[in-house]
């Protein structure tokens, strides 16, 4: 594994950085929020990202994708993370899209992936439940055999982009108890299926999430993605991929908010000198810098491990997520403190980063959860 960008990746990074600078400043997130936009992102921007080839990066060329790797996708996500771009990469590409790509039948892939890659179809993965926290096996949503298919009942929370989605991948139990690995199945459910009710949720990062009520939704047998009752490993694999992607995005966000902070330290004057000349702030800034550097290495290793199907990919993903969670929260907290009063105002961008830091931290498991997972994977 080489922890360095290839020339192609350098070029991709530059293209993405240029595009973000021109088309996706933080003010876009602010406008979407202030407009109370129910979609939570821009379809035009999403379409552009598809045209640039970014949406299709991790999908086969046979289905309209680029057949590239996660190390490539990470470069784009990092650039987008710098300005908190809210487009539906996680819901559509990394969660539901990967569920279909990794576990779906040919029919599923043909039906959905070309539309995804073209930026035309939006998908969502409904996996979290009111008391599931970060535990993927804690699934109470039931799927009972009914008329050759299944009848689904349950409730999902914070389903990203559910309102915009054309279809949902719903995690349900066809067997087993609430914590058991056995008996979990993923179902592809069209958004207009009778019995499916989507209620938007407003979170602090203002990305579109929703409550999804599933009341006697009927799906036919072909809706199952992967084997019935065998969805747990698929779900874990998908969430690991999404986690690595999220880490790349977090890396961009923390780098940007830290750079903004360093720039402020150089310009803000108090006591007749720039506040960046105060040694206590210097040392703290140096520590944030180191944490971000270590986070970057962990993210680069995790996405390369995914591409290489390395044996310790799960450990490396947990390493990346633990480090990114801690580093992003630290960078954002220190940003507010070092900006001082103005950092607390909605007028400055810092607040958007501190809010996003917590959402990202608590998506797919916080640092403590991933340290515990690391220990478990290490057998202790």
């Amino acid at each position: 594994m080489q922890l360095v960008l290839t020339e192609d990746q350098e070029l991709l990074a530059k293209t993405a950085a240029d595009w973000v600078r021109e088309h996706s400043p933080v003010s876009r997130v602010r406008q979407l929020r202030d407009a109370n936009d129910p979609l939570g992102f821009s379809r035009a921007h999403w379409k552009q990202m598809a045209e640039l080839g970014w949406v299709g990066i991790p999908f086969d060329e046979a289905h309209g994708g680029a057949g590239m790797g996660f190390a490539d996708l990470a470069v784009v996500l990092e650039a987008l993370g710098r300005t908190l771009a809210p487009e539906p990469f996680f819901s559509t590409v990394l969660l539901a899209g990967q569920a279909i790509a990794q576990g779906g039948s040919d029919a599923h892939k043909q039906a959905w992936l070309p539309g995804v890659c073209a930026g035309e179809k939006i998908l969502a993965l409904a996996y979290q439940e009111p008391h599931s926290r970060y535990d993927l096996l804690r699934v109470a949503t039931q799927a009972r055999p009914e008329g050759g298919g299944f009848r689904l009942d349950g409730q999902k929370i914070q389903v990203l982009d559910a309102a915009a989605a054309d279809a949902l991948v719903v995690v349900a139990r066809t067997g087993g108890g609430e914590h058991e690995e056995e008996g979990i199945t993923l179902f592809l459910v069209p958004k207009d299926a009778p019995g499916l009710a989507v209620t938007p949720q407003t979170r602090i990062d203002h990305r579109a999430a929703a409550l999804v009520r599933i009341d006697g939704v009927h799906v036919d047998a072909g809706a199952a993605i992967g084997g019935v009752g065998e969805g747990a490993p698929l779900l874990a694999q998908v969430v690991d991929r999404a986690t690595a992607g999220l880490c790349a995005e977090m890396l961009g966000s923390m780098s940007q908010v830290f750079e903004d902070t360093v720039a402020y330290l150089k310009t803000r004057q108090q006591f007749g000198v720039p506040i960046g000349s105060f040694q206590a702030l210097k040392h703290r800034a140096a520590k944030v810098y180191m944490e971000i550097e270590l986070a970057r290495s962990a993210v680069m290793a995790a996405v390369r491990a995914l591409d290489e199907n390395a044996a310790d990919v799960a450990k490396l993903v947990s390493l990346a997520k633990a480090r990114c969670s801690d580093a992003f929260v630290l960078a954002a907290n220190e940003a507010v403190q070092m900006f001082g009063g103005v950092g607390m105002t909605d007028e400055y961008d810092v607040g958007f980063y501190i809010k996003r830091s917590r959402v990202a931290e608590m998506t797919f498991g916080d640092a403590a959860w991933h340290r515990e997972r690391w220990a478990r994977l290490g057998g202790y």
């Binding site: 607390m344 007028e347 810092v350 916080d366």
Partner: protein, 399 residues
């Protein structure tokens, strides 16, 4: 029976006879208390009745002299009154910066005329005050303030901009710092001044915070004419007054957060955690990592409260107070931040709500409290400034 017990009995009877039943159990939080003032809004007419009854007896400012509208009580008696209030689950009749900041400052530095004019109105809740200290270019470097006050006959003419004036949009008067001698060393050309917010040339604009609330404002001053008699202390001697008031403010903030961390939230962190986390067979929190964070935060809180108690006990025993207020400010506010961060970790995804479906009111309030708490280590003198003060004044480390 000791005198204090007799007083306690009497005041408990008075409370029972005078406190409106509708206020029992009323919230005591900052935003829901009675701040008074010309623009006061009463969420319940009994609030006004209770304020008037207390003011009548001097109980809005129990320890202030009776001559200025206070109760003339001893420290011990005032404490007994507060304890009886708490016992009866009643809110204090009045809160605000008149009572906690400008009042004590006037008692210490004001002249007789100023005390007679302002203190009774504070006690009766007629005038609400705000603080005009910080400026856009003068935050931690407060003495770098630039708002000018130029003498013109028996008035000063003010021009400049104040920021972080808490609730300036709801206040009637402002106490502020202005530069009266631009040629002096920066701490030496500052004067402490009072003005009516209705004076022509004063305008106020609320600042929206990342938590969504707007407790602070910007105050713009354009040719604002303030009578010379509104100078508190000496002209160009405002820094002394300002520093004393800042120590008051630090103590107030530390108390607020120490209290909140201690008993304010009735269930405590461990009780809160039971609503979100799984329990093991022994009925303990199964997540050992969070259990430890909770224990650590509870223990730090207890140690902090014991330290504030120790400072009070030492003061009572006649030991001169040290520079504790800086320590309490920095530790108390960081503790409050840590407490809210632990709550976030406990609530997990449920801590991410801004408004609306899928989050209950307590969760939404917690999230906003957390965001608001990030300012605790900035307002009233940043943690960095407090640590500087401790290093210099307590440890005697060189500049």
């Amino acid at each position: 029976m000791a005198e204090i017990d007799a007083f306690r009995d009497e005041i408990a009877r008075w409370i029972a006879a005078n406190a409106p039943k509708s206020l029992v159990g009323a919230p005591t939080a900052e935003l829901e208390g009675v701040w008074g003032g010309r623009k006061a809004k009463w969420s319940n007419p009994d609030q006004k009745r209770w304020l008037d009854a207390c003011a009548e007896r001097g109980l809005t400012a129990p320890e202030w002299p009776r001559a200025y509208g206070g109760g003339g009580l001893t420290r011990e008696e005032a404490k007994a009154f507060r304890q009886e209030l708490a016992k009866a689950k009643l809110p204090p009749p009045l809160i605000g910066f008149g009572l906690t900041m400008i009042g004590p400052t006037l008692l210490m530095f004001g002249n007789e005329e100023q005390k007679r004019e302002h203190l009774p109105k504070i006690c009766r809740g007629e005038i609400r005050w705000c603080q005009g200290y910080s400026e856009p270019g003068a935050g931690s470097d407060l003495a770098g303030l630039q708002t000018r006050a130029v003498l013109d006959g028996d008035h000063y003419v003010l021009n400049g901009q104040k920021i972080w004036t808490s609730y300036a949009d709801l206040a009637d008067w402002q106490f502020c710092l202005v530069r009266t001698d631009p040629n002096a060393k920066k701490q030496e050309g500052i004067t402490f001044l009072l003005f009516d917010m209705d004076t022509p040339g004063v305008s106020v604009k609320p600042i929206r915070l990342i938590s969504g609330s707007s407790p602070f404002c910007e105050t713009f001053l354009t040719d604002v004419r303030v009578p010379v008699k509104n100078v508190v202390g000496k002209v160009n001697g405002g820094w002394t007054v300002a520093k004393a008031l800042l120590a008051h403010e630090r103590t107030m903030i530390a108390d607020a957060f120490g209290g909140a961390a201690g008993g304010g939230k009735s269930k405590g962190l461990s009780g809160f955690a039971r609503d979100y986390l799984e329990l093991d067979e022994a009925g303990r929190l199964a997540d050992a990592s969070l259990r430890h964070r909770i224990a650590q935060t509870e223990m730090d809180t207890r140690a902090f409260l014991l330290t504030t108690q120790r400072a009070r006990d030492a003061a009572k025993a006649g030991h001169a107070p040290g520079s504790e207020s800086s320590m309490f400010k920095v530790y108390g506010t960081e503790l409050n931040q840590r407490r809210l961060e632990v709550m976030l970790a406990i609530a997990g995804p449920q801590a991410l709500g801004w408004e609306g479906a899928g989050f209950d009111d307590a969760e939404l309030a917690m999230t906003r409290d957390w965001l608001r708490s990030r300012a605790n280590t900035i307002e009233g003198g940043t943690s960095e400034i407090q640590l500087n003060i401790i290093a210099k004044r307590v440890l005697g480390l060189p500049d």
